[in-house]
């Protein structure tokens, strides 16, 4: 038996790219805290229509009435009175990278966003603190009737009625305290509309960057994919590390029409001072499909459970997730599925890795209503512990209210098998390569669901970081 000092040391995710800090040259930074006056000021700055201004104030009232969750990781270190909920960068949104200020552009260049746009994306949105600084969609995609714009333009322009019909209707402010907070102070995010029958063959991507210390980011993403349409949407997020708490309480609402398909991929790489209290929900109509691919690598504390409401006959949800919790991180992630129509199906496959004192929790719920006859659900969650200072919990719930459903669940927790390492070493592979190979293999079925550049990055990350010290 090897003692701890002999174990392979796995480094944290290399954050040097993400930790680039720019000096704050805000055009405007609202004062810290959360009061009706602050919320009204955000409304005025953003030229909200009257209904939205009222919605914000109602949400604030709900926020004040609701309690913080009694379950999950502690958020005691988060004091909303010390968070600036709106920070406007000193630039206007542009459709040209050349118009974006040098320091901001440089950050996005280092994160690879413009390069990715040139090579593999149909459109890009880039948010810096509370506002979008860049938004562009390829002409041929726009020509198909696809709308990809920032939420503010959609709200105050020709899509106001669509926004009003859908905004925070799936995730209402009463959902939980931080959904209410989002309703009160949301800013930025993307609006996507894919008309019926249109297939967007190359992905759209929004990237969210929070540069300001002690600030919050509350972007709202609203995507409507009409009947028979297809879209792959990629969301990335990161922030440099500060020694004060930052807050991310975004909201994603996805409407997937009849026989439509939406693939929503997220790579979350927030810094370790971030409280990531994000809410994502999709409603899927008859024959439609939602595919979630979720990689959680960053944040100090995360509460993240994308939810799929399968509302039409034959609707389908797939959730593939990986969570990597290192030192100082408490990542509570998972998913929720509601089967609310006949012949719906869900397939959940998650992996989590805990190391260096990190805590990862897989939390899920599968609810099958009496309407969901002949529905099927399969949940598989696997956890890998890389040392005995870490923690890994699995909390899956199932609530089945029809006889005619087929529900399966399996969970496994364990360590890297000494036998497997021994076998690989007997084939001439070094111990560190053997361990890296096993961890890569463990994450393989998730990484192959990621967009290629992210999958390569994740595999490199695991391989490089398993090359730490042995013994």
């Amino acid at each position: 038996m090897r003692d701890n000092s002999e174990k392979t040391y796995v480094e944290d995710v290399d954050r040097s790219i993400y930790d680039i800090r720019n000096d704050e040259k805000d055009a405007y930074r609202i004062k810290q805290g959360l009061t009706p006056a602050i919320v009204q000021e955000i409304s005025e700055k953003k030229h909200d229509p009257a209904w939205m201004a009222n919605f914000r104030l109602e949400s604030l009232q709900i926020y004040n009435e609701m309690k913080v969750p009694e379950w999950g990781p502690s958020i005691e270190g988060l004091n909303i009175d010390q968070i600036a909920t709106y920070v406007k960068p000193n630039t206007r949104m542009s459709a040209k990278w050349s118009d974006v200020p040098e320091d901001i552009k440089d950050t996005f260049e280092k994160l690879g966003i413009p390069k990715a746009e040139r090579e593999s994306l149909a459109g890009v949105g880039a948010q810096y603190d509370s506002e979008l600084v860049y938004h562009n969609v390829k002409e041929e995609v726009a020509a198909q009737g696809v709308v990809y714009t920032d939420m503010e333009s959609a709200l105050t322009g020709e899509y106001e009625d669509i926004v009003r019909k859908h905004f925070m209707k799936l995730v209402t402010p009463r959902d939980h305290k931080f959904a209410a907070l989002h309703g009160a102070v949301w800013s930025g995010g993307s609006f996507v509309y894919v008309p019926a029958g249109v297939s967007v063959t190359i992905p759209l991507q929004s990237y969210f960057r929070l540069n300001a210390a002690g600030a919050g980011q509350f972007e709202h993403t609203l995507i409507i994919v009409e009947e028979g349409a297809y879209l792959h949407f990629i969301e990335g997020c990161s922030a440099p590390k500060y020694n004060v708490a930052n807050l991310h309480a975004g909201c994603v609402e996805l409407y997937v029409g009849k026989n439509a398909k939406l693939r929503y991929s997220t790579i979350e790489n927030w810094s370790k001072n971030m409280y990531n209290l994000n809410t994502k929900r999709a409603k899927v109509e008859e024959g439609g499909t939602i595919e979630w691919v979720s990689g959680s690598f960053g944040s100090h504390v995360s509460y993240l459970y994308p939810m799929s409401i399968l509302n039409g006959k034959g609707a389908r949800a797939e959730f593939t997730g990986i969570t990597f919790a290192g030192g100082g991180q408490n990542l509570d992630t998972g998913t929720k599925v509601v089967h609310n129509a006949p012949e719906t199906s869900s397939y959940i496959n998650t992996k989590s890795i805990s190391k260096d004192g990190g805590i990862s929790t897989f939390r899920s719920s599968v609810v099958v209503t009496p309407k969901a006859k002949k529905s099927k659900s399969a949940v598989s969650c696997q956890s890998l512990m890389l040392d005995d200072r870490s923690r890994s919990d699995t909390i899956p719930a199932m609530d089945i209210r029809t006889q005619d459903a087929d529900i399966g669940h399996e969970a496994k927790i364990g360590r890297i098998s000494d036998d497997a390492v021994f076998y690989l070493m007997s084939r001439g592979i070094s111990e560190e390569d053997a361990r890296a190979m096993i961890v890569s293999g463990f994450a393989d079925n998730v990484s192959k669901e990621l967009p290629l550049e992210y999958a390569v990055e994740m595999n490199n990350l695991i391989r490089l970081e398993m090359k730490g010290s042995i013994g």
């Binding site: 005995d388 719930a397 089945i400 529900i407």
Partner: protein, 351 residues
């Protein structure tokens, strides 16, 4: 009172974190002093410290009811072949509370069979708490049969403390009653100690079955195996909570949990929450659940052999019960189970 709390909470809207009971009666309001409560001075303190599946409110209920703890001891090295049989025969309208302590000394072996029974149509309420101390290499086998009337509420709680090499085996069959609450927690303190818990149930009509099983692995190379298999009919409601909790230091521990639920009617409610909590690297935890109706192909095959659908359902339900009753080391008890179900205890069953 609050019972069956999950060791780690989740979303409140699921209503699985605990169970709130509002109409539980306490027979007489005559709380005992600590001095009165201990019927076995030596064992009492240890029993007090053992946490149970239902939790503190059940301890309080026992104490407030004035029920003295009846202690059964298995002396060092004594391997009792004959089981200790305890029959709880409740009358119509009963409202009773009982507390038991089982202390198995080093290298001892004991089987305790607890049979809860009443008239088939009886109503009433019973609360029974059993606490177990299994010393080094002791083996305790606890069998509990619920054959209560269809208006009966039962709170059945177990707390066990297992020292080095101790083995606690719990076999439970829930066949009767209207509202049944089961709590079972084993603290696997000693190296190589083990909990095996097997529960079989058949819940019908408006019946409620609410369970909370916890295996807390503290010692090295501890093992747990929790299995629940059952059938829900009519408008029955079931909630299964099962937790494998690997504490730091439980190196080499292995925990397994398996649930198999057969849903026979459209209006049943089946809820399940199996937790694995892990603060130790060198462990292995597994959970599996299969929930659903009878496999169509199996049903078709058996129907093609001349059985009606109802007969097939009956056979499948019985199979789940028989799997557990077969393990009960007492023919008389097994015969009673058959009789309760209106079946004949045949010769081959006795083999």
């Amino acid at each position: 009172m609050t019972i069956n709390e999950l060791p780690s909470k989740t979303w409140n809207w699921l209503h699985m974190n605990d169970t709130q009971l509002e109409n539980i009666q306490i027979p007489e309001e005559k709380p005992l002093t600590d001095e009165q409560w201990k019927t076995d001075t030596e064992a009492w303190k240890t029993f007090q410290e053992i946490t149970s599946g239902m939790g503190k409110d059940m301890d309080t209920l026992i104490k407030r009811s004035g029920a003295a703890t009846h202690v059964y001891k298995a002396p060092t090295g004594e391997k009792t072949k004959e089981p200790v049989k305890l029959t709880f025969d409740y009358k119509e309208g009963a409202c009773e509370v009982s507390a038991l302590g089982i202390r198995a000394e080093e290298d001892s072996e004991v089987t305790v069979i607890m049979d809860y029974t009443s008239d088939k149509s009886a109503s009433g309420q019973a609360a029974v708490q059993t606490k177990i101390v299994a010393e080094k290499n002791a083996k305790v086998r606890l069998v509990q049969i619920d054959r209560l009337g269809n208006k009966f509420t039962l709170l059945n709680d177990i707390g066990a403390l297992c020292k080095d090499g101790a083995d606690v085996e719990v076999l439970q069959l829930v066949l009767g009653g209207e509202n049944t609450y089961l709590g079972c927690k084993a603290t696997l303190l000693g190296k190589g100690s083990n909990l095996s818990a097997e529960t079989g149930y058949l819940v019908e009509n408006d019946g409620v079955l609410d369970m909370n099983y916890v295996a807390e692995h503290q010692g090295k190379k501890t093992t747990s195996d929790m299995r629940a298999a059952g059938v829900l009919r009519d408008q029955a409601k079931k909630l299964y909570r099962g937790t494998i909790d690997f504490k730091k230091g439980a190196k080499g521990a292995v925990g397994n949990e398996k649930e198999d639920v057969l849903l026979l009617d459209e209006e049943v409610v089946n809820r399940t929450i199996p937790l694995i909590l892990c603060a130790e690297e060198d462990v292995e935890g597994n959970h599996g659940a299969t929930i659903g109706k009878l496999d169509d192909e199996l049903l078709f095959y058996l129907e093609s052999r001349g059985l009606t659908k109802e007969e097939v359902y009956e056979m499948m339900a019985q199979a789940r019960i028989d799997e557990i009753s077969r393990k009960i080391p007492d023919l008389e008890t097994r015969k009673k189970i058959f009789e309760f179900q209106g079946r004949t205890f045949e010769a081959e069953e006795q083999v």
